[in-house]
């Protein structure tokens, strides 16, 4: 008995327990994967902070495809020009000049993908926007921000959420309100084929 208790209280055994628990937590809760990507070098350093923050423009004004399509895509160049040709005040800013250069050349801007999932993963923007913005009536920046972070504080987008499967699941198995008014709840799908292709 005494020997037993000595073993249990002994430092070695304790360490083992800690290590075991640590592994369990690591593997089970996916602490491992809570890593943010580094800032990505973009051809034009688009200031989200000004547009989303200062101006308070609705995300979907520019990211117009997100609510209609699986992929949100990048706003067409046209979109930027549409506004900026009517904003002479900032025309001489280097970023804007660069923008117009592309426009003159009718060339697409080679932005880099910031949130790039493996190609066997199918993330459906439309479904999530529909579900949380249109049905549940959450504020748009909260809905988008849940995965894309608080863009009001960025210039170019940064990857701030792990976007790992564990992270997706952790949200999919929560119960969310179906719509703003009712109290009915439901969780995300757990069928493999809903997210894997």
């Amino acid at each position: 008995m005494t020997r037993f208790s000595r073993i249990v209280n002994g430092p070695f055994f304790a360490r083992c327990c800690v290590a075991g628990l640590a592994f369990f937590a690591w593997s089970a809760l996916g602490i491992s994967s809570a890593v943010a990507g580094d800032k990505v070098e973009q051809p034009i350093e688009f200031p989200h902070d000004i547009h989303a923050g200062k101006m308070g423009i609705n995300c979907m004004y520019c990211h117009t495809y997100a609510r209609r399509s699986m992929v949100s895509g990048i706003p067409p160049l046209q979109k930027c020009i549409g506004c900026h040709q009517n904003i002479p005040s900032v025309r001489d800013h280097p970023r804007i000049q660069k923008l117009f250069e592309y426009w003159e050349k009718k060339e697409p801007i080679p932005f880099k993908k910031v949130h790039d999932l493996p190609e066997f993963v199918r993330f459906n923007h439309e479904r999530h926007i529909q579900r949380f913005y249109f049905w549940q009536k959450r504020p748009v920046q909260e809905v988008c921000g849940f995965c894309h972070g608080d863009v009001k504080t960025f210039t170019v987008a940064e990857k701030v959420k792990p976007l790992t499967m564990g992270w997706c699941i952790s949200c999919h198995q929560k119960d969310h309100l179906i719509n703003a008014t009712g109290s009915e709840t439901g969780h995300g799908p757990h069928d493999c084929w809903d997210c894997h292709k």
Partner: protein, 287 residues
């Protein structure tokens, strides 16, 4: 911890399929099914090519085809009739064979990692990135419609030299070596249609979505649709043919099929409850 989900998402289908209530098994209101009229099928191979085009199937080339590595999810089989094999006076017998999307699929229960399991809309899914390639599913598939990536085809000289990769369908992956694959009823199309319908707050209408093979078939021999939609063409055909998804001996067959209804399922006695019915080929005795 997630044992609960495992039980709910997999074992539920295995243990309860097929239950008495088709609606209970398919909570989303979809049960995709097919009907293939063998009297209309001419064996022209249009469906096969359509499948290659839609599902990023690799072209393996002669040497590998010779080894039995062909990747045709949809294959046209040509049988001769034993009676008049010397001179086949009544033509050949064609069989378009693809994954039968069984309700109680033999492949599902044996996969060690659950890479193939049953979806709420009644498909027999194959999750490529989960597959570890034990090939047990292929062993246990009575129809032998599962195809294994014996090589890394994207890297094969034959498959996709530039610029052919530009033709690849971005809605589904290109499988690498060591992964099992099979017909998915063009799940990427179904997914898109369901998502669209969901946004409009409705179910997918009949004819709104179909598989690549059914779409291309020049004689319209293949009918695809939602079995739970009583007005869908496929549901009508199943009714007409007195076919019940959840019976392993159809009523009409129990009493000897007196009305000569053509519907049947291949190897039905194995109790896999396939989602595809075939309509018997017809030949005129007078001719």
């Amino acid at each position: 911890m997630s044992i609960t989900y495992m039980l709910r998402d997999w074992t539920h289908y295995r243990s309860t399929h097929p239950s008495a209530d088709i609606n209970k098994d398919h909570p989303e209101g979809y049960k995709w099914a097919m009907a293939i009229d063998l009297d209309a099928c001419t064996g022209c191979n249009a469906c096969v090519v359509a499948c290659y085009a839609e599902n990023n199937l690799p072209v393996v080339g002669k040497e590998k085809f010779a080894h039995g590595f062909a990747m045709h999810w949809m294959r046209i089989e040509r049988y001769w009739n034993d009676e008049d094999i010397e001179t086949p006076q009544h033509g050949a017998q064609f069989m378009p064979m693809l994954c039968q999307q069984c309700e109680a699929a033999p492949c599902e229960t044996v996969c060690p990692v659950g890479a193939t399991n049953h979806t709420p809309d009644g498909l027999n899914s194959q999750v490529y990135n989960r597959c570890i390639g034990s090939r047990y599913c292929s062993v246990n598939c009575p129809y032998k419609v599962r195809y294994f990536n014996f090589y890394n085809y994207p890297e094969q000289e034959h498959a996709w030299p530039d610029p052919l990769p530009m033709q690849l369908n971005p809605d589904l992956t290109v499988r690498t070596k060591g992964v099992m694959e099979k017909c998915t009823f063009c799940v990427q199309r179904l997914y898109e249609a369901k998502s669209k319908a969901r946004t409009d707050g409705r179910l997918v209408k009949d004819g709104e979505v179909t598989t690549a093979c059914a779409q291309s078939c020049p004689t319209g021999a293949i009918t695809f649709g939602n079995l739970l939609d009583p007005y869908s063409k496929v549901a009508k055909m199943w009714r007409q043919q007195r076919m019940d998804l959840y019976k392993d001996v159809q009523d009409k067959d129990r009493d000897g099929n007196p009305e000569n209804i053509r519907g049947y399922r291949v190897l039905e006695e194995l109790r896999a409850y396939p989602s595809i019915i075939y309509l018997e080929r017809v030949r005129d005795a007078q001719a």
